[in-house]
């Protein structure tokens, strides 16, 4: 088991954003996490990504109980996040964004400087692996939504991530680019990476995910293989028309 949540709750003051959630994610799975606004999806992601610790319960990664307080600690355990707003710097090149915070450096003695050629080369390889048209030297400002996703995803590939959390990767892009992004997700899976996909878009989840988890008002109300579910059922679960499944 790669990731396990045991009775995890998170409260913000009087508001209980996540309550008593149990969740297991196996290696190489693509799990869809669905729910209405305020259902607790983003809080779950932030708990796993180490933005804040749970109020109660345990997060277990590779059979080891972890206590993250900062995202850097989660990254150290092989957890990478692709944020909804993508967290890219528009004024920097694709390669600079991929390597932001972990730049490749050359050195002579104590003097260290950025190794631009190495970063361009490696970023180019990553984009090629993802079969993306993104060019390493292009500024992110000039990119399409799909290319931006490729940059954000390429960043997760730098560190041999085990688990990639994707927060609404298809929310703000055109229909054509959605297909591009779903392809990127499949390629992550092909290279043995586990993906948790948060999405509002039913078709995306049913296209790439193997399992769907539905949250409602901070609770997990469903957790079943995608083959045994249907968009109608999930919609019912999200809205509360169907109580649990």
């Amino acid at each position: 088991m790669l990731l396990e949540l045991r009775k995890v709750s998170k409260s913000f003051g009087a508001i209980k954003a996540v309550s008593d959630v149990d969740l297991q994610v196996d290696r190489g799975e693509i799990v869809g996490l669905m729910g209405d606004n305020g259902a607790g999806k983003s809080t779950m992601i932030k708990l796993i990504a180490g933005n804040f610790p749970p109020t109660s319960g345990e997060i277990v990664i590779d059979d080891e109980v972890v206590h993250f307080h900062r995202p850097v600690e989660a990254r150290g355990k092989g957890i990478e996040v692709v944020y909804q707003d993508l967290a890219l710097c528009n004024n920097l090149s694709a390669a600079a964004n991929v390597f932001l915070g972990r730049e490749v450096k050359s050195s002579i003695g104590p003097i260290r400087w950025l190794n631009h050629p190495a970063m361009y080369r490696r970023a180019g390889e990553l984009f090629a692996e993802l079969k993306s048209e993104t060019r390493p030297r292009d500024l992110v400002r000039q990119m399409s939504g799909g290319q931006r996703q490729a940059v954000a995803i390429a960043r997760t590939r730098l560190s041999d991530a085990k688990l990639v959390l994707m927060d609404e990767p298809t929310a703000a892009i055109s229909v054509r680019q959605v297909a591009e992004v779903l392809d990127l997700i499949r390629r992550l899976k092909d290279s043995g990476i586990t993906v948790v996909l948060i999405s509002h878009r039913m078709p995306d989840v049913f296209e790439v995910c193997e399992r769907v988890v539905v949250m409602r008002r901070g609770r997990k109300v469903a957790d079943k293989p995608i083959k045994e579910s249907s968009p109608e059922e999930v919609t019912g679960l999200i809205t509360g028309a169907i109580h649990a499944a």
Partner: protein
């Protein structure tokens, strides 16, 4: 379901190809290095600079003389050095209005160390030993004063989260006031003999070397610092992080860039550059006045903006700050030589700032 999903994927490469072809026509990044160079604002500022210099040397025989070159380059070196320090701050999306006051404060602190008659506030605790009143101690004390001001600015902005405009506006008033208090509101000029070493730094030339030409020390220091900053911004992780903070502070934070530390460093560096400009200026003029550098903050910011930096953050270069400052001073010098009343200079400098931002806006729109 998979069938319908497959179709858009398959049509994808074709339409992407069209997309790429379209982009390579318009895309600035795909252009040659030469074309990218031309799209740069600092390039056009350089062109303007060269054009004005050529025109002036043709019209006005006094312009293209060695003396005038020496004077212009020295005069703009002070602002140029401040503009270099201002550049990282503006790239991070901040602003530092206190640099002019830092000059005044630094001048008084360095001057007080060198005074023949140690001022009362210093005499209470400062040793009378020769080293305590040496030129290098004056330099160190001046730089320390600048670093402290920058550190306070940076901490209030990065860690307390106050807006840079407000913090540095407050510091503009406070640092100037401290300078006035420490100087007893008098000009300091009665220096110990050891001050000659201090004066030569700002007033001398060629760094004391025997060269076939004559360049003022401040100008040589400006050139060295421009190269150093250009290298730091381009080749150091620090520079990369400065740009990242200005591009998307939240993203920089999420990817593990030490945003707060980087910001503090930028403000310390900015104040240090102002302190250095003050030290050179005091050395050149031979006296320290608490009004040194008043309104220089505007010239420094103007230089950076004219050189192509974006006040919203994310863009700016060392070379831009250099040519921006050069352009302002060449224009000032030209106006003086043309017999224009010096009181009119502000109008031209102001117009240039607005023009530079307007140019940036137009280029930005084309880019979208």
């Amino acid at each position: 379901m998979t069938d319908t999903a497959e179709r858009p994927v398959r049509t994808n490469p074709g339409s992407d190809q069209a997309h790429v072809a379209f982009e390579s026509v318009l895309d600035v990044q795909e252009k040659s290095a030469y074309q990218r160079f031309i799209a740069n604002q600092s390039f056009w500022v350089t062109v303007a600079l060269v054009a004005i210099c050529l025109a002036m040397s043709w019209i006005e025989p006094r312009f293209a003389t060695e003396d005038n070159f020496y004077n212009i380059t020295r005069n703009f070196a002070f602002i140029g050095i401040m503009a270099l320090g201002m550049t990282p701050v503006i790239i991070t999306g901040g602003i530092d209005l206190s640099v002019g006051s830092v000059m005044g404060l630094t001048a008084i602190v360095s001057g007080s160390i060198l005074l023949t008659e140690t001022p009362a506030w210093l005499a209470g605790w400062w040793p009378e030993a020769a080293w305590a009143h040496s030129w290098w101690m004056a330099v160190l004390a001046g730089l320390a004063a600048g670093a402290i001001v920058g550190f306070i600015n940076g901490m209030l902005i990065a860690y307390v989260g106050l807006p840079p405009f407000v913090v540095t506006l407050g510091m503009l008033a406070a640092a100037r006031a401290v300078g006035v208090i420490l100087s007893g509101n008098r000009m300091l000029y009665d220096f110990v003999p050891a001050a000659d070493g201090f004066k030569i730094i700002g007033g001398g030339w060629n760094l004391g070397l025997d060269l076939p030409f004559r360049l003022s020390n401040p100008f040589i220091i400006l050139i060295l610092l421009t190269l150093a900053l250009a290298l730091a911004l381009r080749m150091a992780t620090w520079g990369r992080h400065i740009y990242a903070v200005g591009g998307n502070e939240q993203a920089a934070n999420l990817t593990g860039v030490p945003v707060k530390r980087v910001k503090v460093q930028a403000y310390v560096l900015c104040s240090l550059s102002a302190a250095l400009a003050a030290i050179l200026s005091v050395g050149w003029s031979g006296s320290a006045n608490n009004s040194l550098g008043a309104t220089y903050e505007l010239l420094a910011i103007a230089s950076v903006v004219i050189g192509g930096a974006n006040l919203m953050g994310g863009e700016g270069t060392a070379f831009g700050a250099f040519v921006g400052a050069a352009l302002i001073f060449v224009i000032r010098n030209s106006l003086l030589m043309a017999g224009v009343d010096s009181n009119w200079q502000g109008i031209f400098v102001g117009a240039f700032i607005v023009l530079a931002v307007l140019l940036e806006r137009i280029r930005g729109r084309r880019r979208e």
